[in-house]
């Protein structure tokens, strides 16, 4: 017994235990301090921007009370209710995703098509999608997939090239139709087709056809009705097809098929309804609201350098979206293909292996090259070598694409590398070819990771200013870009320019408000990618 208690004593009072524990606690405290420093600095920074942008002190106490009653309380109560039931929570998340996803998609589509010209979008959309679709259907029907698989991308490229060649002939032909009919082609037909496919898979082909026809007819009905009362239906066609239809489908099918969670679909409507009721009451009762520059005119107007309350960043928002969107089309396929090659095909040993390693090291280094340098590269390549115009969309997209290419490659490589080799071996062991292994095993497994990398790349690109300054993108344009070879500007550039305005209401009002818009734009893009990513993860 004596020895046992000695052992226990030793456990308790071993030499240096106290000191060691103190050291451990100090280390933990240091780590916590570092974390808090970072978070607090960010909070202060964003707090300051937010304070200038929203001007919370300008609103009256009644305004806060009003929105607390119409927006905060119902949303919080609903969230609390939804969190307690998993089925309701799932339905709620689904409804939020479809409402805000569809709203984003429909607004972006309309805004971009409207500035570029819906006719052009229609021509390239038709020629870019119908040939590959036909090839795919041919492959399905004849079960001859050996050639149709590779033929699909070829058909897309050929279709787009033909559209570019025949553009001068096609444009006047398409232009005969009213604008809203072009929007029916751009938005309603794809939505009808997609819904038809979804319904066919879920229920039956007959219902799929009915659903697709229903979408088309109801859109035409809406357009006809609006024409009848003398309103141009273009915007409403887009909103109806790309917002009302998907929201109606998801909400409707959830309510009909999921009896446990059907109340969850109310979530987004509680939120939106709260805002609408609040806004109506605010106006009716004449309550003093926020007097900030963050209001609809900022989003809808063009820039006005003399009158801050009239200044808007609509062309800048569209410019950012078009530039970054085209950049995605340029950079993502190239970057992801390079990553696939380096991870799956490049030799691992010998001279080829050394070359591949050298290439990989250089790509990682390129990810850290300052963006100003990429601006110079873009200037040399697009302006001086290729002779593109100054500050046009392709140059800006190309420069930003070069900038994010290494980030895309490196992150996609990491995602592909994270797929366990045991899965590849299993596939090869079954007699799968490299391409089959890639498509059936490696790619589905790495898509979430690849998307995470592209989120980072997007977030970086949308906020980039320096390279755009170097390639002489205009800081202010008064109209959105009309095409890929037209001049455009981006939101960060406008913020940069407005910062040096002599008028304080620009520096302390419009600039922070525009910064919030930029942050929201970035968040919307990121949120889209996160939703897509989580969908892929759930499907596994």
């Amino acid at each position: 017994m004596a020895t046992e208690s000695e052992d226990v004593d030793q456990l308790r009072r071993a030499t240096g235990t106290q000191l060691r524990r103190l050291k451990g606690q100090l280390f933990e405290a240091t780590l916590l301090g570092a974390t808090l420093t970072g978070i607090v600095s960010l909070l202060v920074l964003f707090g300051q921007i937010g304070f200038d942008a929203f001007r919370p002190l300008t609103a009256s106490a009644q305004w806060y009370l009003l929105y607390f009653g119409t927006l905060v309380t119902p949303t919080a109560a609903f969230t609390w209710y939804a969190r307690r039931n998993p089925a309701v929570r799932t339905a709620n998340a689904k409804a939020f995703a479809v409402v805000f996803g569809a709203l984003t998609v429909s607004l972006l589509t309309y805004v971009v098509a409207d500035s570029v010209s819906p006719y052009d979008v229609l021509i390239f959309l038709l020629f870019g999608t119908i040939p590959p679709l036909l090839v795919g259907i041919y492959g399905r029907v004849t079960e001859e997939r050996t050639y149709t698989g590779p033929a699909i991308p070829v058909a897309t490229v050929v279709g787009l090239a033909v559209a570019a060649l025949l553009y001068d002939v096609l444009r006047p032909l398409v232009g005969i139709a009213a604008q809203w009919i072009a929007y029916v082609g751009i938005v309603t037909l794809p939505v009808a087709g997609l819904l038809g496919v979804v319904v066919t898979r879920r229920w039956s082909p007959r219902r799929g056809v009915i659903a697709a026809t229903g979408v088309l007819l109801s859109t035409l009905l809406v357009a006809g009705g609006l024409l009848g009362i003398g309103i141009d239906p273009s915007f409403w066609v887009v909103l109806f097809s790309a917002f009302v239809v998907p929201v109606g489908y998801v909400v409707g099918s959830t309510v009909l098929t999921e009896s446990d969670g059907r109340t969850g679909v109310l979530g987004p409507f509680v939120l939106v309804g709260g805002v609408l009721v609040g806004a109506t009451l605010e106006r009716q009762l004449g309550i003093q609201g926020l007097e900030s520059f963050l209001r609809p005119t900022l989003l809808l107007n063009s820039w006005d350098g003399l009158n801050a309350s009239n200044a808007g960043v609509y062309p800048q928002i569209v410019g950012s979206v078009v530039v970054v969107g085209f950049m995605m089309i340029l950079a993502f396929p190239v970057g992801i293909s390079a990553a696939v090659y380096l991870e799956e095909y490049a030799p691992k040993s010998g001279w080829g292996g050394r070359l591949a390693t050298l290439l990989e090291v250089n790509i990682s280094n390129l990810a850290g090259v300052p963006s100003v340098v990429y601006g110079l590269l873009g200037l040399a390549l697009f302006r001086n070598t290729l002779g593109f115009g100054t500050g046009i969309v392709v140059s800006a997209s190309g420069t930003l694409g070069l900038l994010i290419l290494p980030i895309v490659v490196v992150s996609a490589q990491e995602a592909i590398r994270a797929v366990p080799d045991s899965l590849r071996e299993a596939s090869y062991g079954m007699g799968a070819s490299r391409w089959q292994t890639l498509r059936n095993v490696v790619f589905p497994e790495s898509v979430p990771g690849i998307l995470t990398g592209t989120i980072l790349a997007l977030a970086r690109a949308i906020g980039e200013t320096a390279p755009l300054v170097i390639i002489a993108v205009a800081t202010t344009t008064y109209t959105p870009p009309r095409g890929l070879f037209e001049s455009a500007t981006a939101l960060p550039l406008q913020i940069f320019a407005a910062r040096s305005s002599a008028m304080p209401e620009f520096r302390h009002g419009v600039v922070p408000a525009a910064a919030v818009v930029l942050l929201v734009l970035m968040l919307v893009m990121n949120a889209t990618a996160v939703v897509v990513r989580s969908r892929y993860e759930r499907d596994d």
């Binding site: 997939r145 050996t146 899965l423 071996e425 299993a426 062991g429 079954m430 007699g431 497994e445």
Partner: protein, 278 residues
């Protein structure tokens, strides 16, 4: 599904007469796999030293030996999985039904369709149970009677009763032993000639292990099974023939399992089997 490769290799082209003789020969215990002076190098390191052995048809052949003796390397030579390792070079011949699988005109992808493989750790795809079993069929472009074939494979792998009502569930939700039997079902769904197993039970608990062992003995009625194991009792229990590899990638002894375990010819094999080293 089958995009680029032709699904046949030279060895599968048989006239009906040849097929007839092949069948009669098989019943007499003809060897399907034969290695002649097979040596493998990983870079400068030699992993196998001129191994020559003949593996009989429709029997269980166990390959045992201490870690790093080259037993897995030998197994991976049979379906050319070593091709995936850039640094590996192979000398000598490995014959499947009399054809050298390292011949210039052999497509390793087609070869692997005739030789199924089960790995040390269960490695089902993160797909549904059904899609896992159907994987090999689909990549070979087989789309008719898929349901039947999947059911048959799962039944032969003794997994059907446990999963028949949850084929849409993710394979990753199964237990380790079920996952390994799923991997076996996946391998036999395409009806290969040979089944390679690389320590298939080493990551499993005793009950799951005994299920796998029972299954292997049943499978040997239809397939040639070659199993690598570090568990000597397992080899003694389930195999008809045993090959003992010792350090340095040398095949030291090969013969009927009873003889190898009860009356080994080499002192070092006896030391290994009785647990003096390894």
């Amino acid at each position: 599904m089958s995009e680029h490769e032709s699904p046949t290799i030279a060895t599968t082209v048989q006239t009906s007469d040849e097929a007839e003789t092949a069948r009669t020969v098989r019943t007499t215990g003809r060897s399907v796999i034969e290695s002649r002076d097979l040596s493998v190098y990983y870079g400068d390191e030699q992993a196998l030293q001129s191994v020559s052995l003949q593996i009989p048809d429709k029997q269980v052949t166990a390959i045992i030996g201490p870690s790093g003796c080259g037993k897995s390397t030998f197994l991976r030579c049979i379906n050319r999985m070593n091709d995936l390792v850039d640094a590996a070079t192979i000398d000598g011949e490995l014959l499947l039904d009399g054809t050298n699988v390292y011949g210039d005109d052999i497509d390793p992808v087609a070869l692997r369709r005739r030789i199924g493989m089960v790995f040390q750790h269960p490695n089902p795809f993160p797909k549904s149970i059904y899609d896992n079993v159907a994987y090999g069929l689909r990549i070979q472009g087989i789309t008719d009677n898929l349901d039947e074939r999947v059911e048959k494979a799962l039944k032969r792998a003794a997994l059907w009763d446990e999963v028949s009502d949850q084929l849409d569930k993710s394979a990753l939700d199964l237990s380790g032993g079920q996952q390994q039997r799923l991997c076996i079902a996946r391998a036999i769904a395409v009806d290969p000639d040979v089944l390679l197993m690389d320590e298939p039970a080493s990551a499993l608990d005793p009950i799951a292990t005994s299920k796998i062992e029972d299954l292997i003995e049943e499978l040997a009625e239809e397939y040639t099974v070659i199993i690598v194991t570090h568990n000597m009792q397992q080899a003694a229990r389930i195999s008809d023939k045993t090959a003992v590899f010792l350090t340095g990638g040398k095949l030291v002894e090969y013969g009927d399992t009873d003889q190898v375990f009860e009356n080994p010819k080499h002192q070092r094999v006896e030391d290994y089997i009785t647990g003096k080293f390894g």
